[in-house]
């Protein structure tokens, strides 16, 4: 059953058709819109690598069916958060701290942290670790990630 979609992704309107209203947002962003920020990790909402912002909230796009999005929902991906010429403070801090190894999880780390800082601009280390408790990293880059978030919050 074809499903018409109108999305606001990174400030641009996108109109498209999906075959299946259950299609998770992740597949629309990656396969229809060609975005690389949100990543497929588990499809179960367990690892966080697919995280995007929907109306400012960190959301797991791999378990978010497009049919469940509110009309006019504003979706921001890592690409829309900031680019090479206009880095978001969290992105700038991740580069400054060299906070990546393979970097596959980093999309989720940045999107989750940016959402945290919107709500709590000066989180302490415990709050940062708690906010990222459901974001998995296998390379063991956690300490640099925490430092980067502290740097972005101006508390390093």
């Amino acid at each position: 059953m074809a499903h018409q979609l109108s999305l606001d992704v990174n400030g641009r309107a996108a109109h498209l058709t999906v075959d299946d209203p259950d299609t998770p947002l992740l597949y629309v962003l990656r396969d229809d819109l060609g975005l690389h920020g949100p990543r497929f990790g588990c499809g179960l909402g367990q690892c966080g690598s697919c995280t995007v912002h929907v109306d400012g909230q960190a959301v797991r796009s791999c378990i978010t069916p497009v049919s469940g999005l509110k009309p006019g929902a504003r979706i921001v991906t890592l690409e829309g958060l900031g680019g090479p010429d206009r880095l978001h403070p969290v992105q700038a801090a991740f580069i400054e701290e060299q906070a990546a190894q393979c970097g596959y999880c980093i999309n989720g780390m940045i999107m989750q942290s940016a959402a945290l800082l919107n709500e709590n601009p000066k989180p302490d280390e415990t709050a940062i670790r708690q906010a990222l408790a459901q974001n998995l990293c296998r390379c063991g880059t956690h300490l640099r990630i925490v430092r980067a978030v502290r740097r972005a919050a101006g508390t390093l």
Binding site: D22, Y27, H36, G82, A100, C102, Y104, R138
Partner: protein, 740 residues
Amino acid sequence: MNAPLLSRRNLLLQGGALVVGFALSGRNAQAQIFAPVATDGFSKPVAPDQVDSFLALGADGRATIFSGKVDLGTGIETAMAQIAAEELDLPLDRVTVVQGDTALTPDQGPTYGSLSIQKGGVEIRQAAATARARLVQLASERLGLPADALATENGTVRPKSGGKAINYAELVRGGRLDLKVDPAVATKDPATFALVGKSVARIDIPEKITGRFTYMQDYRVPGMVHARVVRPPTIGARLESVDEASVASVPGLIKVVRQGNFLAVVTEKEWAAVKAAGLIKATWSKWEGLPEQDKLWQHVRATKVTKDDVTSSTGDAEAALGQAARTLEASYDFAIHTHGSIGPSCAIAVFADGLLTCWTASQMTHALRKQLAAMTGLAPEAVRCIYVEGSGCYGRNGHEDAAGDAALLARAVGRPVRVQWSRADEHGWDPKGPPTLIDLKAGLDGQGNVSAWSSQFHVPEGAAGNVPLVAADLAGLPHETALAPGNVIQNSALPYAFPNVRTVCHRLATTPFRPSWIRTPGRMQNTYANEAFLDECAAAAGADPLDYRLRALKDPRGIAVLKRVAEIAGWQARTPPVKEASGDVLRGRGISYVKYELNRTYVAGVAEVEVDRGTGRVRVPRFFVVQDCGQIINPDGVRNQLDGNVIQTVSRVLMEEVTFDRGAVTSLDWASYPILAFPDVPEVVSDLIDRPTEKPWGAGEPSAAIVPAAISNAIFDATGARLRSVPFTPAKVKAALQAT
């Protein structure tokens, strides 16, 4: 975002008058080369004895480095660029690194074993130094000046006394260097290094941080379709029937591919493939060939031994055990682990004109090429594997298997096929770190020193080389499975000077799952048993564990890392168990040491633990680590590896264990195979001992080796209970506490 269709020949001709092939600008440029059209003339050399195999100097003043070793997220792309730029006297931003492309890069061996810098980097250094010497020679001929009157600087050769500088491109215009790598070539004096030894920022990080990086999972080719594999419900099940009608309604279904026990669905769009893989109805035979998990160690003990490797033999260990004042005996075991890549494996393959091209995140594209050739019946020359960085793999995970799946499917549907594994595919079907069992005996003399040491390690027969591809296995296609013994027996022998030692590795004919390597394979398990059992000896002798090691160690670089870690950890001489308690929490510290493979990188570490005696839960709040890997290329990169090794291994040691029933893996997601999360990640306090005039050694694995024993020893210090079975779960800790 689809890559432009560029044949290799076109690309080379675009390079036109370029000196050696061509130079590429921009990252991921190599991945844009479409097909292996190498039959008509210009072909780039890849023989590992040729300078042109490793580097090309472009007319634009840039250099392209061709590295057989690939960046798996460890930062070696940047490190290789540093090494080459240093030796060529080029600015770092004028160097591009092409990695792991069988048509373009020399075969420098798989990217494993902590050998990228030590072997791959040194080969690139020699090629670059040979090229630089030739450039000076060419300038010398052109200018009529002796070579020692010339200097290289910023991509030019210039007279030291002043005068016009000549660009490298002018010197080699119109031809290749056509030069053999000179292994004896003079490389730069480390005292003059401008880039090596510096914490240069990683080349790949800005794109990864802004979502502009193209991982294997992002890669697309024109006309590509999507596939999901449908694995058997048990490892040995036979496919009896498939009900194709069960997926007929899936939009854009192209084909249900069945070959033997291999089953997959191919669709126009990716989500449709996910849906179809979930919907498809198939019947499979029953199979129950796995051992019972709670009898795993009996199973390992009962497994046929194909041969024994005696890895060290000094004096007469058996006789000395008989004469010892005191003897100790213990068995250690280490669970089956999965790689746990955050991004499940992915690959793309296309057949065109009798040639197979495969884009893959494989750590071993040259070996994979042989496997794909065997599986498809093509000549290896008709197969090209192109590395595209994927999610970190930490060893041989499912990347190569996904490539096999893609190759089979591309031929079946006649279009480029992208295969993306699911989370359950990855957890269930990547090859596993094998279960390891170690029996040890020691004898102490009257002073408590080790007078006899005898150990037996139960490790797989084949633990390196080419792990059989799942697709070839399921489809009944020919295998190229040159499994090699590998280095899993390394570090079974000891770095200590004991008088009577015998260490033996029993090579097991089979393991429950396809064995492969996961970060620090064998060396981790062996070091764990040795360093924890040595701690048992120290405790029996009433000795401080640091002092006990130092008095048996003769190697000054080993002594240096142990003393340095004691310093940064503020180690106070102790006779464990100290059992420092506050309420229900017991605190302790443990030390551990390795000389990797007894011939390279030195690491020492101190773990701090907190054990909750009520719940049995262990936390590692802090870990101190000191490493000497000789000449350091990028200190920040090495520290990143130390963090990673420590944190990943704390996770493995405290939490990780593959679970299975009689038919298959049952830990198929992150809930059933949990890994360490942010709240429990230890602080890592690290220090590096840099030795710029020494050889550069590996840093990707060694520091993981010391972690399990340091934790086990710290738990003993905290509680008096000895943990000898990884993972140290709350249940095991509680049982051990009750037994003390």
